[in-house]
């Protein structure tokens, strides 16, 4: 039986297309931030929520062995759920400093939120319009970034911190 070259080419092409299609189906198309782990955060300046004259920048974070940057708001209910883990982290571990960034919130509401649930933060910055959130690659809140003293991202948590992520953070800063 003679098989023509064009038929072989068409057959190979169909197999190749099916392979690409199959690979495409396997691939997760939703956005995740895994690729950003290992990158460095830079060029930011956070103004304290209650004091315009007080601010922190890159060089302040370099003094900490580890820093957890947590974006929160009083209107965000998952932020309430993760708050106990932040309080545990700040109370138990001296290696880590927690920076809170209050996202698109009213100052009064943010202060009430911290008064009601406790303040786990070593510094609370404000991000009234959300501009800072872009500098940190945030796309929804709550979101947290764990960085080392070189400001390299070690872990990124999208959504509220839960028991598993809390344990992972403890492992990473050991």
């Amino acid at each position: 039986m003679k098989i023509s070259i064009s038929k072989i080419i068409i057959f190979i092409f169909i197999i190749f297309s099916l392979f690409i299609f199959w690979q495409g189906l396997k691939k997760n198309n939703s956005y995740d931030t895994k690729s950003l782990i290992g990158s460095r955060i830079s060029n930011f300046e956070l103004i304290e929520i209650n004091n315009d004259d007080q601010y922190i920048s890159e060089k302040d974070l370099k003094k900490n062995k580890f820093t957890l940057i947590n974006f929160f708001a009083s209107w965000c209910s998952p932020c309430r759920a993760e708050h106990k883990y932040l309080l545990n982290l700040s109370g138990k571990n001296k290696k880590i400093k927690i920076i809170g960034i209050n996202f698109k919130d009213k100052k009064k509401n943010a202060n009430n939120f911290l008064k009601e649930l406790g303040n786990p933060y070593n510094f609370v910055g404000r991000d009234l319009k959300g501009r800072n959130s872009i500098l940190f690659g945030i796309y929804g809140i709550p979101e947290s970034i764990l960085v080392d003293n070189n400001l390299i991202i070690i872990k990124k948590i999208v959504g509220p911190i839960d028991e598993t992520q809390y344990d992972e953070i403890l492992q990473l800063i050991k």
């Binding site: 023509s4 064009s6 080419i9 956005y31 319009k129 501009r131 872009i134």
Partner: protein
């Protein structure tokens, strides 16, 4: 004198409006090439989400600062990865995406060539 002043005002207004519309067009171009990460299948231009609003604000700031489109895209890629732009740059993970159309074109041409050759050969016989 009055006429001269009146003409001057009109010129200023026209120049300002042209500049504004040019900026608006540029902004829209950038928005259209940015993917909304929290909404499925929408660009930043199409979306009214909170994330899209913040990105629009930052893009506007950077254009006003005089940054080029490429600089804005690079800044956002450094913060969110290649996924944020609809037109990713060529790298080892996406080279197939760039070269596959040319490959398909070449393979199609080859198949057509063989089919035509074969039909000619049959005709000759």
């Amino acid at each position: 004198m009055k006429i001269k002043f009146f003409l001057f005002i009109i010129c200023v207004l026209i120049t300002t409006s042209i500049h504004t519309s040019e900026n608006q067009i540029k902004l829209l171009e950038v928005y259209k090439n940015l993917r909304c990460l929290v909404c499925q299948g929408q660009s930043i231009a199409d979306s009214n989400s909170d994330f899209a609003a913040t990105i629009k604000l930052v893009v506007q700031d950077q254009l006003n600062e005089g940054k080029t489109e490429a600089e804005i895209y690079n800044f956002l890629i450094s913060k969110y990865g290649e996924w944020i732009v609809y037109q990713p740059s060529l790298n080892k993970n996406n080279f197939l995406l760039w070269f596959l159309p040319y490959l398909i074109f070449a393979v199609g041409g080859l198949v057509l060539f063989f089919i035509i050759q074969k039909s000619r050969h049959n005709k000759d016989n």
